[in-house]
Amino acid sequence: MRIFCLLAMLCPWLSFAQVSPQNSSLLKGQIRSAGNNETIADALVYLTAKGSRVLSDKEGRFQLSILSFPDTLVISHTGYTTRRIRVTNASFLDIRLDPSTELLTEVEVQTGYQSIPAERATGSFTKINSELFNRKVGASVLDRLDGIASGLIFNRNRTPNANESAIQIRGRSTILANTEPLIVVDNFPFEGDINQINPNDIESVTLLKDAAAASIWGVRAGNGVIVITTKKAKQSPAPKIRFNTNITIGEKPDLYYQQTADAAALIEMESFLFGRGFYNNRINQRFPGLSPAVGIFDDRRAGRITAADSAAQIQQLLQTDNRADLLRYFYRSSVAQQYALNVSGGSERAQYYFSAGWDKQQQPQLQSDISRVTLRSKTLIQLIKDKLDFSTDLNMAISATNSPSSAYSSNYSIYQDLVDEQGNAIPVYRDFRKAWLDTIGQGQLLSWLNKPYEESRLVNHKTSRLDTRILTSALWRIRKGLQVQMSYQLETGTSETRNLLSMDQYFTRDLINRYTLPNYATGIPATAIPFGDILNRTDQRFVAHNGRIQVNYRNSWKQHHTLDVLAGMEIRDFTTRRSDIRRYGVNESNGIDQEINPISTFPTLPNGLASRIPTNADNNQTTDRFLSQFINLGYSYKNRYQLTVSARKDASNLFGVDANQKTVPLWSVGSNWMVHKENWWKPGLLHTLKFRFTYGVSGNLDKTATAYTTAGSDLNSFFSQPTAYLVNPPNPKLSWEKIHVLNAGIDFSIFNGRIDASLEYYEKNGKNLLGASPMAPQTGVTQFRQNIADLQTKGIDLTLNALIIQKPLQWSAQLLFSYNRDIIQRYLVPAALTKFYLTNITSNPYEGKPWSAVFAYPMAGLEPTTGNPLGLLNNTTSTNYSRLVNPATKDEFMYIGSGRPTFFGGFRNDISYRGFLLSVNMVYSMGYYFRRSSVHYASAFSSSLSATPSTHADYARRWRVPGDEMFTTIPSMVYPAVPARDEFYQYSNALIEKGDHIRLRDIRFSWNIPMQKRNPLHIQSCRVYAYANNIGILWKSNKAGIDPDNITGFPSPRTYALGLEIDF
């Protein structure tokens, strides 16, 4: 491996070719852009017949010897249409090049430390410019990257509790440590809420994907870096104003998407269970709620209602499906509005950029919305001309969120009516039985009815947030090529969440009632909780200080050599504070609350159990500190060979490790070779060609692992003493995770630049990764984090841009294709039990398979006589489920495939004609599997026991009579439920589906309204646009009607937007 790296770096250096000038007449000229008249440096100039090849200098000038006239001069440059000029004499040539197309304009890569021309970059990056970024409409920044950034995927189906980031760049590189990509805004890591950034302020987004990124950004960059560059102040005598507004309307969520059993199926099940005495314990306890059907069965059995009444009531339940009411009374269309205004301009010595934005989003749930105001002011002043620049950037975002009522997250059975025909709320007797509520307290208690529909509108749960980010920076140009830059950023965020649970709300009434002891003799109850509202308050605050001093040095000598050096150090201190409190007996009008006794226990209803009043008090403070040094070298020879070297040392306040373990060194080397700039290069079919290569080591860390015994303080004990719990038993062998990253890329364009492509191969070798090794219970811990794993990720990223038709109708397309495969190469400790590979693969990696591997028990259909699912043991069928779900070896189950897409990407087509633009984006994910849900009898039974019966619609399609096994794989219902039998079916191959699908992500249509040059409003350009998002699935592999991105929950509703953008 190492030797290969070395060779790859050396190979550009082996091809030096010196061409000596010959004695002949000189042809001179200057090249400018036809667009803005700016001179073009580094354009390739040569004569077709014979002669030297040169590059234009910084002023766009060139000279080359010519042997004979006439000849044809060819001038080409990335981003411009190649020109051929017939030369007949040696007169000075003033050449104008037409900018070719927007997709080929010179790209600058923003690393957050420096901006370098894309062609000089050796590393792997993806740049998303303002236009592409603003293709999507909405208040969120990160959502806009979906389907337009190569190698980036949104993990929409995350395993609950698994360590997986919502956005992933180039697959996994860790098991337990941080999986989130680092987000950098302008020059520093961003700590606040990314949703507090106004997308209209963003100029571009750059993804840094390889080791070059990590050696710049340090340990937090092991998962890639998303560099967000905001709009800059631009020099312009008259202020430039841009105004953008849009409105987005979203459909209601599709409540019918999940396949749930209907009332008939559920009541059939409950009737059967009732007959078997399943509910006896609960019924006998008198107070706990029963499901509506069980309540009727019980009333009938106890003789409280007649057979006819019972039949009529059940008949009514059979016709109930509350989803129609939920859609009608609980949900509405979402509406989002956005207004953004920015002004920029200034003189040569002082420039400014101001912006303001207002977003308001009405959520589909009642009483729930988000509004946000963002303000920004950026100024750049040249204090000493050409010597000292000073810039400030002030950002502020204020947002207010109204969260939906907890009624939306509660469970109700599908046949539980919530709203009656007149639109009145219906009470739900889920927690307590009506008969018990009618007798308890005899008027000494508050109303104990729970009416979800009423609850849905009573909510008063607000979060207000204020984020500020202040960046100051000074750039001192000591002399030509030598600069010192000092920057400091202060980022703060405060948020206050107030959930005022009024006396009208069920939660408050319920809690007060539980702590009330009715006294039937005196009629005066003993209450432990004062009357009044309950206030849950959470205060959060963070402060991040970032400081950096950096020296930039650039020198060129002997024409061909250029050296860029960047070195500096950085300090970071990030603290967060959080406190939660609860107040009782709150009167909002005068702000007074009442004390409770948090120490003593009180008898509670309905059991008479002695309990303390919950206080919900918590305080926490975290501190993250980093001290780093870095150096970055870039050497370029003849503008066609580049060599980059970077190194960084990070030290962090890791807890409980030795001082030398607090530091980790990271480095990378890279090179590129621009073949098309060689003198011997003749553009033919292949227009440009460039090879790139980087290799380096980055790291990752998990701040929860420590080398010493650590403990956390916990709630008070049963006997009101302070308590502590063990966090980590000692691990003196703890070390940093190291990730070796290799990236090799080839960039080329063909057909005169009409098609350009970038193909990259990468390999990430995570060594010494932390893994959760299961421990024998005799040790007193069940899991332990230690460095036991190696993980390899390999992949390919391909970006293909094509200009299919040019003018007047222009059709361009972009195809993104990514292949990514990870393999657990080493995992020293086997899972505690072999079955964990099926049930909990993400915490029990399997050597030789992907992190997300999907395994399944082979199921041989159903037993014809009983409908029992048949497993396979030693090639014979078996129904010994306890044995089947505790496989002795790994051979007893089968490997299905990766659980995360291995091929993915997007395909975008932009068609424009005279100011009209239509853009359609499709995304696809392929090569992966998922496990769908089906009926699980044990949980279906227990859901019914807790008065909220629900199960999968497969219940109705189960095996009932012999013969059914011919057309169903859904096992029969058995009572008592056998959990191992349910588990076997749940993890059998009968429930595995292929995840492959293609989705029409969005469509955008815009029109640049033609403007008179001198219109009274001074409008320079004006654009209207329409946008539709989450349009639907075009093709999917599974036949089960499941959207593979939404196995649980509901698909994101379709949204439609209309907007207007004006430049003055």
Binding site: R276, T710, P729
Partner: protein, 458 residues
């Protein structure tokens, strides 16, 4: 030249920055809630964690004959509770982690961590008493946890085979990377006695009036007496029980206890010496259940003037009786140590060691506090055997639903009592023969697969 001067200044700036106290900057604790437990208060707070300590296994009580179920109600229960009731060979089914086992070992790890940290931080003279008390507590809690493990996961004590029969793994350090094999029963009992005797020497004489989760010297002696009885060493049991009762012998007069209250006792009940309750995993053990009934013959053995009849039992509808909340004050069975048990241990030990009149006196002291005032006629015995029988009958009645019946059955059968348990469900009859392998619970599957220790045959 000027440029180079500036560069020198710049380098100085850099050096200054680097020179500022780097170590102090990086020594800041990343999370305020995380500590390296070392102070006495921190170590005490680890032992006060009532989510780890104050819990005992529940498997034994589920296998005992204190209760019965009807077939329909049995079917409505979770798998493990169903198979416990019918003493299945495959007790755990698909369940992997059995808290009865793992929680006891978690308690042992906590105790070992505290002991190790105490050794690293020798006490100042001013806090010697607290240091001793914490150390004694850790020894007690380790001994208590190992006692529970031995009684559930190892065979009944038998002096003839005690060096060859496997007990459970004994863990005495915090090295989680090392798994230890099962020690012999003898080694386990030796370890328990050593821990508890060390604890008795260090702990305070006073039983805490409220914080019953904190061990005391009487608690250590009571647990020693309990384990001496379990291993048939009655002379030792008498001495230990006596040592306990000399320090703390309070008995509550049940005439002062409500016979109608749902919770007649609270968690700091005066008779309690050390608080513990069964783990909360099993719904069968909840005293709120309306489908778990007290054994009918047992219930009928309480006469009407015996106050325990109405304080220990409650009607569940019909003629079936359920259990009331006991000394735990919660819905879980009390499994800790109370004075009534110690009085009974001393009585039994006295009867076993030939002092049966003294034994009957102890028994009557206890029973006097249990009967309606003025109705109690002291019991008399004809001889030592009769005394022992009466004491064991009263032990069963006094300590019902407190997790003792299982180890008592193992001990009685070892002594030749030949008790066979029978359960009926519908037409099916299940029996548990004396000395059956099923008296020893299987070691959980995850333990066997991770440490490879020997499984118990069932």
């Amino acid at each position: 030249m000027n440029t180079y001067k500036r560069l020198v200044y710049l380098c100085c700036c850099f050096c200054l920055l680097t020179a500022c106290d780097k170590d102090a900057f990086l020594d800041k604790k990343p999370n305020s809630a995380i500590i390296i437990p070392s102070t006495l208060a921190e170590l005490r707070s680890l032992l006060d964690n009532t989510q780890v300590f104050t819990y005992s296994p529940g498997l034994g009580e589920m296998g005992s004959d204190d209760y019965y179920l009807t077939e329909a109600n049995w079917q409505a229960l979770p798998f493990l509770e169903r198979s416990s009731y019918t003493w299945e060979s495959d007790l755990y089914g698909s369940q992997l982690n059995i808290s009865d086992w793992s929680l006891c070992y978690q308690q042992i790890l906590y105790a070992n961590i505290v002991l190790e940290q105490l050794e690293k931080n020798p006490p100042a003279t001013s806090v010697q008493a607290e240091w001793n008390n914490i150390k004694g507590s850790a020894f007690f809690l380790r001994g208590f946890a190992l006692s529970n493990l031995v009684q559930h996961f190892a065979a009944a004590f038998d002096s003839a085979t005690m060096t060859t029969t496997p007990g459970v793994p004994i863990r005495r350090n915090t090295n989680v990377h090392q798994n230890v094999p099962r020690s012999s029963i003898k080694d386990c009992y030796d370890s328990i006695f050593t821990d508890l005797l060390t604890a008795a020497a260090l702990l305070s004489d006073i039983v805490p009036p409220v914080a019953k989760n904190r061990p005391s010297k009487p608690a250590a002696f009571a647990q020693l007496a309990r384990m001496a009885t379990a291993s048939g060493q009655y002379e030792k049991a008498r001495i230990y029980a006596d040592s306990c009762l000399r320090l703390y012998n309070y008995l509550t007069d049940y005439n002062t206890v409500s016979t109608t209250a749902v919770s007649p006792f609270d968690r700091s009940h005066a008779e309690t010496i050390y608080f513990s309750q069964a783990i909360s995993t099993y719904v069968v053990l909840f005293t709120t259940s309306t489908t778990v009934f007290a054994d009918t013959a047992l219930y009928r053995s309480y006469t009407t003037n015996d106050l325990r009849r109405s304080i220990f039992f409650r009607a569940t509808g019909g003629t079936n009786m359920g259990f009331k909340r006991g000394y735990s004050g919660t819905i879980l069975p009390f499994t800790g140590i109370a004075t009534d048990e110690v009085w009974l241990i001393r009585a039994e030990a006295l009867a076993k060691t030939g002092q049966w009149q003294a034994a009957m006196a102890d028994l009557n002291t206890l029973l006097q506090k249990r009967w309606r005032t003025g109705t109690f006629v002291p019991l008399t015995a004809l001889n030592a055997t009769d005394a022992l029988e009466k004491i064991r009958t009263e032990r069963r009645k006094e300590l019902v639903w407190r997790g003792h019946r299982w180890s008592d059955l193992k001990r009685y059968n070892k002594e030749g009592a030949n008790i066979t348990l029978v359960r009926k469900l519908g037409n099916q009859t299940y029996t548990l023969l004396p000395g059956s392998n099923k008296y020893v619970f299987a070691i959980p599957a995850n333990e066997i697969s991770m440490s490879g220790i020997i499984q118990n045959p069932r």
